[in-house]
């Protein structure tokens, strides 16, 4: 449809500007070689972000002033500063502090590019997701807890059987979105020299002055990756909505 037209127009433009497809195909395997690292960084990043977000959310809901204050600061500070600054801070800034640390601990401050990237992405996304988790927990009304308690359920039973399943249903779709966004943001980690997808594409592009070609390749690979995960996320979302849709079919409301 419209998309086909867009592709045709793009193909014409690329042809007119003597787009080097042979060059693209030649370096495709090398650029593709960055995909596993891109996915690894994103998966580890989201796995770090989830517990941080949970802590952040619980802190923001806590009556304990210290817990609340620390999580509020975390969410506010991280959301208020650029991700690229956070990556540089961990990769380039922390090693400067190593000299003040006792000998065996010094290595903790000097981190590899992948570790730095995962830490920065995890901490950054954790702050954003804390608000998602908080909303998810708040979306389960107090009446649910009261109904479970009135039936004689213990606190643990109430959480495990009644509250958490409802929270998880609410937070899984946005968490999937965050993961997809993180795949794209993981390109920023390439700037400190991680051999991921974007780093490889820009390296070859600069080396041979064929930036347009390699960047198009990188963009298409990112697009395919995010499309695949979006597809699975959509399916998961539909499965989780069982019991929350009034009628069968998408036009039921």
């Amino acid at each position: 449809m419209v998309w086909v037209l867009i592709f045709v127009v793009l193909a014409i433009i690329f042809a007119a500007f003597q787009f080097n497809t042979a060059f693209m195909l030649e370096w495709l395997p090398f650029i593709l070689g960055g995909v596993p690292l891109t996915i690894l960084i994103s998966v580890l990043g989201i796995l770090l972000a989830i517990p941080l977000a949970l802590l952040g959310a619980l802190g923001r809901l806590s009556k304990n002033p210290v817990f609340y204050g620390v999580s509020s600061f975390y969410v506010s500070f991280i959301r208020g500063t650029p991700l690229i600054v956070q990556i540089f801070f961990i990769y380039l800034g922390l090693p400067q502090l190593a000299q003040y640390a006792p000998g065996p601990l010094q290595n903790l401050f000097i981190l590899g590019t992948v570790t730095s990237g995962v830490l920065a992405l995890g901490i950054n996304y954790g702050a954003y997701m804390a608000e998602i988790f908080r909303a998810g927990i708040q979306s389960v009304g107090h009446g649910q807890v009261e109904a479970a308690q009135a039936l004689g359920m213990t606190w643990t039973q109430t959480m495990r059987r009644i509250v958490l399943p409802q929270v998880i249903r609410v937070i899984i779709p946005p968490t999937g979105n965050e993961f997809i966004a993180m795949i794209k943001d993981s390109a920023l980690v390439g700037i400190v020299g991680t051999q991921e997808l974007f780093f490889r594409a820009s390296k070859i592009g600069r080396q041979y002055f064929q930036n347009l070609e390699t960047l198009v390749v990188a963009a298409i690979i990112y697009w395919i990756l995010t499309s695949i995960f979006s597809y699975f996320q959509g399916r998961l979302e539909r499965r989780l909505s069982k019991g929350y849709v009034r009628e069968g079919g998408p036009h039921g409301h």
Binding site: G141, Q144, E146, A147, A148, A150, L151, G152, R161
Partner: protein
């Protein structure tokens, strides 16, 4: 010891304070087995809080609560008190104004959840029992539906079946028809009436439905500004309340 050998619920000197606000100012109330008691009064009079003190959704600040021989004395939270609270909760069932069905569970799953997790009843046995009560309240054909697909009246009837499946000694109703569209109130009241008159369930009902109260309640209790100022057999109270505040309220609503 209850004040009356036959009383199944016995409240004595129950006080509840929220911050500066004394919502219950020392309430005494005894309810006999099989009795239906309607608690009524203006909103904010403390009638819902009183009901919620019976199963400790609100913990009384002072006083004692005894249900089916299990006695609770107000005091600081302790392991023993929490255990007593769970004991009493397992003997009471509650129906809420907002239904509070579990939206992630189907009708039958809502009903068997507590028997299987709290009483460790085998799933099949719980389902059989649950189906009996779903039939009783007339929603057994909805067993595999999710709550969102039910009307308000159906939801509330499922909620009643869910509470009954725990085989409580006392059923507590907290404004069970206040959130319903007018045309759905009747079906819920009919189920409650059936429970009261046919089954002989002990019921404590907070409601504004004076027609239901007159027809079903054995006794009525009037709450005013945190105190239970008058109670008595329904006919006597409706026919000739002694306290002018009770009379004024009844004149306004009847």
């Amino acid at each position: 010891m209850g004040t009356d050998a036959h009383s199944i619920v016995s409240l004595s000197g129950v006080r509840k304070v929220f911050g500066e606000n004394e919502v219950l100012k020392g309430v005494d109330l005894d309810i006999a087995e099989g009795e239906v008691v309607v608690i009524f009064g203006r909103s904010g009079s403390g009638k819902s809080t009183l009901l919620r003190c019976i199963n400790f959704l609100e913990e009384p600040t002072a006083g004692s609560v005894e249900v089916d021989g299990v006695r609770y004395e107000a005091g600081p939270t302790s392991h023993a008190r929490r255990k007593t609270i769970r004991e009493i909760r397992s003997r009471t069932g509650m129906v809420f104004q907002e239904f509070n069905l579990f939206p992630h569970l189907s009708v039958i799953e809502n009903v068997v959840e507590a028997p299987t997790t709290v009483k460790r009843m085998p799933r099949r046995e719980a389902e059989e029992l649950g189906m009996r009560f779903l039939e009783k309240v007339g929603v057994s054909d909805k067993r595999d539906e999710y709550p969102i697909r039910l009307s308000g009246g159906q939801k509330q009837r499922v909620a009643i079946a869910r509470a009954l499946t725990m085989r409580p000694r006392v059923m507590l109703f907290d404004e069970p028809t206040s959130a319903l569209d007018p045309e759905l109130i009747g079906e819920v009241l009919a189920v409650m009436k059936d429970l009261a008159l046919e089954v002989g369930t002990t019921m404590v009902v907070v409601t504004h439905e004076m027609g239901f109260a007159r027809e079903v309640a054995d006794r009525m209790a009037f709450m005013y500004e945190g105190s239970l100022i008058e109670e008595g057999p329904t006919a006597e109270l409706v026919g000739g309340a002694k306290d002018p505040r009770t009379r004024r309220f009844l004149e306004a609503v009847l």
